[in-house]
């Protein structure tokens, strides 16, 4: 079943069960740690610890913010979408077949709601430009000796030269709590490229843009 949001990086929430159990034990990435903590909080909440939900909201709200903003929604609308996502969790939690994958359920729900909201907003005002967030000017150092603030700006500028689709995909992936593709590839013996081909293409474009701007990825990452 395809995602109705213009990008497809994750299966349906119902079967987004990879990673939390049956996964390699030595995974320490930030995303995987959050994935597991979210699962544990959700299970505690379902078992009657009502305050575990507050901790789950604390843990996942910043992630949902970035996932929703990947769709270029204005900030006030993005906040509405994040709230709709949380209320959907409270009301539909019984339909979540795999509690361990609750962070995946949340990000998929947020993306679907964001996509629905984007389409509705464009129908209402088709002249509204899709680039709703402010662009910051690039500040290129002639010597390419960028300090930390400069490198962030260079990367920001580079990512805004990508297509809307690539920019959205990279932001969703950057904040998604899916265990990393490299490990999945090792676990399954599949080439990494076949797991995230679009991601690979978008990152390649980003590298090409950086080269055009006169930087190497090593200088900004």
């Amino acid at each position: 079943m395809g995602m109705d949001d213009g990008i497809a990086v994750r299966p349906d929430p119902g079967d987004a069960g990879d990673g939390a159990d049956g996964a390699a034990p030595a995974e320490t990435s930030e995303g995987t740690a959050r994935f597991r903590r979210a699962a544990s909080l959700f299970v505690r909440w379902r078992d009657g610890d009502t305050l575990a939900m507050d901790d789950l909201v604390r843990l996942m709200t910043p992630v949902l913010w970035h996932v929703v903003r990947a769709y270029d929604l204005p900030r006030a609308l993005a906040e509405d979408v994040v709230q709709t996502t949380w209320l959907a969790l409270v009301r539909k939690h019984e339909t979540i077949k795999e509690p361990a994958a609750v962070s995946g359920w949340l990000t998929v729900t947020a993306r679907r709601e964001a996509w629905r909201t984007v389409k509705a907003a464009r129908r209402a005002d088709p002249t509204e430009d899709e680039h709703l967030e402010p662009r910051l000017p690039a500040q290129r150092s002639a010597e390419h000796e960028a300090d930390e603030a400069d490198t962030a700006r260079i990367l920001w500028d580079a990512v805004h030269q990508l297509s809307e689709r690539c920019r959205r995909l990279l932001r969703v992936i950057a904040f998604d709590d899916r265990p990393d593709y490299g490990r999945i590839a090792r676990d399954t013996g599949m080439p990494v490229g076949s797991i995230g081909p679009t991601r690979g293409r978008c990152l390649a474009k980003l590298r090409a843009v950086l080269h055009q701007m006169g930087f190497t990825p090593e200088e900004v990452a």
Binding site: M53, D54, T61, P62, L87, A152, D180, V192
Partner: protein, 165 residues
């Protein structure tokens, strides 16, 4: 880490994908962070929506109760409080015969919901400035309000006893 997908367009081995994504994450966190207070507002919204959650019960202040008895049929004022929180509700009758409930809370409200008939019917408050909130188009009947207010240590949830709207 497999290096097959880290070759850039020229075939050079580039920066590892995960490192580049981590750098991008940092850029978005820096340039487009969540709005201030977003997490507290989300905690509050969930608390008032989750009817299975036990919230602290506010007490109806008796002075206000006497005032309510004295007030005319068109307008009713109720005050609820505990040691930390105070909530004032004005109920008025609109031309259509429905009720409007204007509220004010100290500390300021983050989210509020009015429920009737064992939560069968619900109204979500529109939030105003300085702790004000309002429910429009409420039908007459017994109601209670669930609300979450901004305490220094985070959102705190309360529920009022039932009262006649």
């Amino acid at each position: 880490m497999n290096s097959d997908d880290t070759r850039d367009v020229d075939g050079d081995v580039g920066v590892d994908d995960e490192r580049l994504l981590a750098a991008l994450r940092g850029v978005w966190e820096q340039y487009d962070p969540p709005p201030a207070g977003l997490t507290d507002r989300m905690i509050a919204a969930v608390a008032v929506d989750d009817v299975s959650r036990d919230l602290a019960l506010l007490e109806l202040q008796t002075d206000a109760e006497r005032a309510a008895v004295r007030s005319d049929r068109e307008r009713l004022t109720l005050q609820f409080s505990d040691e930390t929180t105070s909530v004032l509700l004005h109920v008025s009758v609109t031309e259509s015969g429905l009720r409007r409930v204007d509220g004010w809370s100290d500390p300021a409200v983050l989210a509020a919901r009015l429920a009737q008939d064992e939560d069968e019917k619900e109204w979500t408050a529109e939030l105003g400035e300085q702790g004000r909130f309002a429910f429009a188009g409420v039908s007459p009947g017994l109601a209670r309000v669930r609300l979450s207010v901004q305490h220094p240590d985070g959102p705190r949830g309360f529920v009022t006893p039932q009262f006649q709207v």
